[in-house]
Amino acid sequence: MKNATVLQSGLQKRDRTPAITKIALALVFLLGIAVIAMGYRGMQEYGASGFSSEGGYRAIYALSGDVADAWSKKLEPQMAALNDVQRAALDQTAHDLLIDAWEGQKSGAGAEAEALLNAAQEGAERRGLLWRLLYTTYLVNGPKVSTANKREITGVSAADEAAFRQGLLAALVDETAAVPGAAQSAVGDAQGAERQAMLAQTLFVSNGSTDSRITEQVNVLKKGVRDKGAQLAAFRMTARGEVSWLWQLVVANSRTAILVGIILALDALLLTFLMMGDRTWIVDFKWIIILLIVDFLLLFQLMPLVYMIIKAFFPEGSFSLETFKRLYTYSLNLDALKNTLIAAFSTMILGTLLAFPLAWLVGRTNLYGKKFFRALFVLTYMVPPYVGAMAWLRLLNPNVGSINQWLRVLFGLSDAPGPLNVYTLPGMIWVLTSFYYPYAFITISRAMEKMDPSLEEASRISGASPLKTVFTVTLPMMMPSLISGALLVFVSAASCYGIPSIIGSPGRVHTVTTRIVEYVSLGQQGLNDATGMAVFLMVMAVIILFISDVVLAKRQYITVSGKSVRPAIVDLRKWRVPLTVIVGIFAVIVIFIPFATIFSTSFKIDVGKSMFQAENFTLSNWKTVFGRTETVNSLKNSLIFAAVAATVGIVVACTMSYLLQRTRIRGRKIPDFLITLGSGTPSVVIALGLIMTMKGNFGINIYNTAYIMIIAYMIKYLMMGMRTVVSAMSQIHVSLEECSQVSGASWTRTMFKITGPLIFPSIAAGWFLIFIPSFYELSMTTLLYSSTTKTIGFQLYEYWTFTSQPMSCAMAFGILLIVVFLNFVLNRLTKGEFSI
């Protein structure tokens, strides 16, 4: 009887659940729609209040215009008193100082500004005011200055600030009312961003300055104004007593509201779709997790990509190929496109031709020292490509390159440049090859290790010689891995920025990536053009990803055989010594010489001379690099960003691994797909997409912050971590967990006591696989950095380009040491199971 009741209530419950769930889903969907509608309404309200985009800027400009007017009125007579030369000189000084401040070399600039500020007291009022503004600009922009300090310098107390805000509010409520003096300053004080924008605009842009860094900075500041505009509109409405705080919130964050609404509605739809296959209609907690991950990826990965495609094909709101026409009729871009394709294709062919024999020699023959060689080739994989570019530049520079110098002596050539020149397309291909062949090497040797040796033995016993076996069995069997390794090299080489920017730019060998970065620095129009170039890169990457993931994966022959795989070792006999020598020479050329060059250059004063030449040896590069606040800060930034990206990334990776390996929940493949897509997207494209969509125009403003960089790193490198954990989990039979649960342990306890410890080495390895590339990342950072979020990779690049090559070599060697050290830590942590 009792059982029957329980059963019945169970049945009833099951009957009721679908209805409740359906209603809840519908409600969430409607809520999403409502939030969208509110956001839309808010945007209209905000538009009507005169704060819509450019209007917002103008309104603020007008409000603070009084302040500006006052300044210019005071300045005018004095400016008039100056002659043209003096005025030009003044502008130049201000210009340099601002750039210095933005470049982050603050100590000198700060002191100079201070001195000038003091000088202003002596009567040169115009200068005084100007410097004071510049100084404030610097302070607002510069790192590590507390608000209290700012107040002290601008002479504003906290009470003053509150009063100013009140005054501002009052002025906003009644537009006819005169803006009190306090409010005037308040505009200047409370709205630091727009004041800077205005200042920079009036001083430089309107004076015809073409410095792209200033234009860029002004654009950034304008974005800040736009955000403030919405908030001011909301303030005004509240002050009128028109709306509730909730409405105020919506108006102030109308774009965010629309975004949240869209996500809510989408989630509701997605959940409904997932649940349709599962008749019980019980909301599974796992779905919520999947939705969270999917939402994150939709927002930060898919939306930017889709937006870029739309922007490229619909530049003015209607379909047009104008962007592409304009871009590719420009011969520089067409050349860049050609160079990219030629370089990537040649690198792919060369890299694979190198990788296959190396993988075979190291994995399948009795070559001397094969373990050492293997570790050495894999090690290259961890080295940032720009370090290689720097080394080869030092070696193959047509004038002072060491190899060129040796060759000249060796063949008695004249002192004319050459014979080799790295600043050419072939030079770039060589450097790309020397840094991307490990990608093919790793893919191929992994497949070779997994191959059942009896497949080759069967060929031998059938009468085929070892060489014949390589061509009839080994090579065809390897083909899918060979092709996917080759494609990986192609995509990596085509999307590489570090090498072309260091080698290509001086030699005017442009590639798609360097063009994109150049376009981005040009401001708004540049962004649109960059999008046009990026779309090409993205489409190419996605097609290749599809080929290697879907088409080739189905043709994978490699199956782990039942017997423990002990690869059959081919006896090289009389070839053993010569081949070892050849591989050794290759390793010396490709690995040892470049690293040694980086190392020795870091101790040089004159890079053209030998380290051992008289008075050319110095430790000052190292001292400077590790003594400067800016390098230490950027190192700190790199470590923090990479650690956060890796930690959040590995949590997502573990969650995904669990969902993929331990559940059959519908929709678990969706985030997996998005993560794979993200890692296949070229870095430059990811960064560009984030720039285009994350500066407030879609309700999220993380431009110029650390978040945007961390997110970019995660999108690019998450998959490496995920794959590592997934493969570890797939090797732990589910019965180990089931046994723990049967023994009475809860799910959580099982995860921590059984699964966790078993896959810990892989989790650690996954963490490092996200951490290391994020740590020295350059391509994305170049586009996403701000003066406070510079990373070590970018700092090194800047030093290389603008400051000193020996110093950046010291930094590069420092980075290498850190990476090697981390690898050592990983090796210890996982008891030797993993090293990268």
């Binding site: 009896s454 059938s462 069995v473 083909m479």
Partner: protein
């Protein structure tokens, strides 16, 4: 068709000696089985014959031609051997026809002739209609037959089979066993077969070499090694057996651990002995030679697997299912003994039975 002569072959990997002094000749047309637990060295012996391993010392002749030994080494491709691998090693990038045709293609046999030979062997292994299929479209048993066809197509003098049936399910294994044996009989080919499955070895072989820890424990026909085991290991490996310590004197063997009960013995051994009894050679009867108490019985359908406490020793008895169904646990029983073997008690039993892993 071919003879294989193995002279003092020893193989060591570093310090680990996996094969000691293998010394034997396989005659033409013989079906030889190398039998033993995993890690005993049987596969190593096979791979030495194939030419995938070189012996550390000793010589190997195929048809009186030296192929391994001293400075001479004929690589596998020059030995004209057919071989079937445990994992079948069917090449996944070739269809069945190309897989089987491969050895002939390597020999540059004319196309028409290849076609004919492949069709012939595919018919032998019943795969004619699968010639155009790819391996991933075949079942395990079919792949196994492709491997067999490929090994046979070039009409080798010698066929090597490395646990070819171990990855198949029980039913298929049994039918393949007879197919392989049939093919061998038909072609009259010399076969060296490696397995750890004693039933397989019994059913197929002309001669069995039972190997443990790199040493041949016994060789002979299946009947010889089953019925006249040379030592405890052989007896233990081939079927179920219990060993009891006893003392042989005055025509009887007394078991101290069975409350000093004894059985009649007219053999030559004296003093401490080990008596090996297969449980199916013990039976319940009215006036048996050993008295004990029934402790447990497990009904297995055709037989009853029983445990009888004799003194301090638990003795296993496998009785016909219909013999003593009415026995209840705890009841006193009397055991008769049909057959047993007596070995000298050299105190090495444990070590002897130990298998290398």
């Amino acid at each position: 068709m071919a003879t294989v002569t193995i002279k003092h072959v020893t193989k060591a990997f570093g310090d680990n000696v996996v094969l000691k002094e293998f010394n034997e000749t396989f005659q033409e047309g013989e079906f030889i089985t190398l039998l033993g637990p995993s890690g005993c060295g049987k596969t190593t012996m096979l791979r030495i014959i194939a030419g995938f391993e070189k012996p550390t010392s000793g010589e190997l002749y195929i048809d009186d031609q030296l192929v391994s030994g001293g400075k001479t080494f004929v690589p596998p491709e020059k030995r004209s051997i057919g071989m079937v691998f445990q994992s079948y090693a069917v090449w996944p990038h070739m269809n069945v026809f190309d897989n089987v045709a491969y050895p002939l293609t390597i020999k540059k046999v004319p196309k028409a002739e290849i076609r004919q030979s492949v069709d012939r062997v595919l018919a032998i292994v019943h795969l004619s209609q699968y010639a155009q299929r790819f391996p991933n479209q075949l079942s395990g048993g079919q792949q196994q037959r492709v491997a067999l066809a490929r090994a046979l197509v070039a009409a080798p003098k010698l066929l090597l089979l490395d646990e070819p049936l171990s990855n198949l399910d029980a039913k298929l294994r049994e039918s393949m066993r007879f197919e392989i044996k049939e093919i061998q009989r038909e072609l009259g080919i010399t076969v060296v077969y490696v397995t750890h499955d004693q039933t397989e070895a019994m059913a197929m072989s002309d001669r069995i070499f039972l190997i443990n820890r790199g040493v041949v424990q016994q060789s002979g026909t299946p009947q010889q090694i089953y019925n006249e085991p040379a030592n405890q290991f052989v007896m233990d490996f081939l079927g179920k057996v219990d060993f009891f310590k006893g003392v042989a004197e005055n025509g009887r063997i007394t078991f101290p651990e069975m409350g000093n009960q004894s059985i009649a013995y007219d053999g030559p051994r004296k003093g401490p002995v080990e008596v090996a009894v297969r449980p199916e050679n013990l039976y319940f009867c009215e006036n048996g030679v050993l008295q004990g108490k029934l402790e447990a019985q497990y009904y297995l359908g055709d037989v009853d697997d029983c445990r009888v406490r004799v003194g301090d020793t638990l003795v296993r008895v496998i009785a016909n299912g219909h013999e003593f169904q009415d026995l209840t646990n705890g009841q006193p029983v009397s055991l008769g003994i049909r057959d047993f073997r007596v070995f000298e008690d050299n105190g090495l039993l444990e070590q002897m039975l130990q298998i290398q892993t």
